[in-house]
Symmetry: C2
Subunit: 311 residues, 2 copies
């Protein structure tokens, strides 16, 4: 068997079975955006995310400052979706010996911008050599209440923190490798390279029953909530707003905006469920059952669990 035969999530699940957790201080182990441990009067959140050359980025195409920013954002986003505030990070670098110093310096400058914006500090790390550039960041957050994937309740509404789909459109534009981009195209590209974690919505997260950050794609991430909370989630298509820039993109290139809204990964927006009215975009509701569905005026359809996969 090769690792690809298991799929990304299948592999993680199978490996985690080898390492059972038997520690009363561990509130949440595998299977959520963060692990969570109780320590005295506080809850600590732990997450880790990596950026690998030729998998997550092309060295000659990306601004390293964007890379440092995005890596930080992906970690902060995990902390926020569990109800926490980012505190400390460790950085593990694996670098080719002949890498230009300016590239890694740029990554660190991007991390500095993120630190200043999100309010965390990098306190340690490690460096090794390798043939591919790899930057692995682990982050510690702090909260009073763990919010995650498993708390969605029948009767909740489903909210998202923004229009979706822009990151995928931005990535496709980058891959077109054009000499000239229109203004709306530049904005979409920026949404891919410089996403922002929604730390500004922490109060809303702390009032929610469940939350996830949209890194695999809306449908795939709502499936995570559905499975962990053992509920059925229904998206109402008419509630899905198409961002004006995505509309321009889809008109220009003959694309269906819902392919982007439903399946765009690396959005770093939040999907929440709550039985309260929230000042966010309502897109659906939670029922008894399982799975993720989309409802239009004429029909209700079960959505395949798909999104970005590493394997």
């Amino acid at each position: 068997m090769k690792v690809r035969d298991f799929g990304e999530f299948g592999l993680i699940e199978k490996l985690n079975q080898i390492l059972p957790i038997n520690d009363k201080d561990v509130i949440v182990g595998y299977g959520d955006d963060c692990a969570c441990v109780k320590l005295d009067n506080t809850l600590l959140l732990f997450t880790v995310d990596i950026q690998v050359e030729n998998v997550h980025f092309l060295k000659d195409r990306i601004d390293p400052t964007d890379l440092g920013w995005k890596l930080s954002t992906s970690n902060v986003s995990d902390i926020v979706s569990c109800g926490g505030r980012p505190r400390w990070a460790l950085i593990s670098l694996a670098l080719p010996k002949d890498l230009d110093y300016d590239f890694i310096k740029g990554i660190y400058e991007g991390i500095k911008q993120a630190q200043d914006y999100y309010g965390f500090f990098t306190i340690g790390g490690n460096v090794s050599s390798s043939s591919q550039v790899m930057i692995d960041m682990s982050m510690v957050g702090q909260t009073d209440r763990f919010v995650g994937r498993s708390g969605a309740k029948v009767g909740d509404f489903v909210y998202v923190s923004s229009e979706l789909g822009l990151s995928k459109a931005g990535l496709e534009l980058i891959l077109m490798n054009k000499n000239f981009y229109e203004d709306f195209e530049e904005r979409l590209i920026k949404r891919h390279y410089r996403p922002t974690a929604r730390l500004d919505l922490l109060d809303s997260v702390l009032q929610a029953n469940s939350c996830i950050d949209i890194s695999d794609g809306l449908v795939s991430d709502l499936w995570h909530i559905s499975k962990k909370s053992q509920v059925k989630i229904v998206i109402e298509q008419e509630y899905l707003k198409v961002h004006p820039d995505l509309e321009l993109f889809c008109n220009k290139y003959g694309k269906n905006p819902y392919d982007y809204i439903l399946y765009s990964g690396e959005e770093y927006q939040l999907a929440l469920t709550s039985n309260k009215e929230m000042d966010l975009m309502k897109i659906g509701y939670v029922e008894e059952g399982e799975g993720v569905y989309i409802k239009s005026k004429s029909q209700i359809v079960k959505l395949d669990e798909k999104g970005f996969r590493h394997f």
Copy 2:
């Protein structure tokens, strides 16, 4: 400028300047075996270590169980040298898609053995694709008192937790790629592949003024203490014990045992300084001044700071 132009430690130092730490809860940031933060009534220790294919191991030559064990040991060793007990780990994997599942399974089984032996739990992680196998482990420890590189005092004795040099001899034997190894050679190879972190000596560490784990080599690691504590360290050559297996090795291959004792990395033994008499191997003392010296009956010589470097 290329990253190799800075050297491993120079690169880390230069990058860390981009990310200053300004957080009253951070007791120790960069520059020690662990970072340390204060949280309510406890001190948390953080460290991270990576194993990269073709840098730290050859996939076709290593038993993956040993790899998982060694990665865990290197992290536990950092926690112990700062006076802590390991609690939780996160694992970040970057794997080629066509990697045999049994290889990664073996790594996890080695981590499981280490968890059971050292008493920590892996609580989360991440998986990505890559062209080289890379396993990055970050670990959280807990202590009441931070012990590290900066507390050595004039008048301290210098102790080590064992005879040294065996890991380097083991590595050289592995690289000889022989069809037959004598018993003492097999034991040396095992010391390279299956080192043990000295969690059993935690009480001694907590009574020491300073401590470091020997991962770069005795001289290089004592230089770290010398610099961080602003003291001079004198090793008395007559106190350095040659392990019987190292003696057999050096006799057989015409090597000088002190090249191994002084410069063998990945030992994961401890070097401590204390003004108390300790039940460990005394190898020297701490004086006013700077640098690391070796004293024989006839002379005292300043030792170059050298050891294993990634760049």
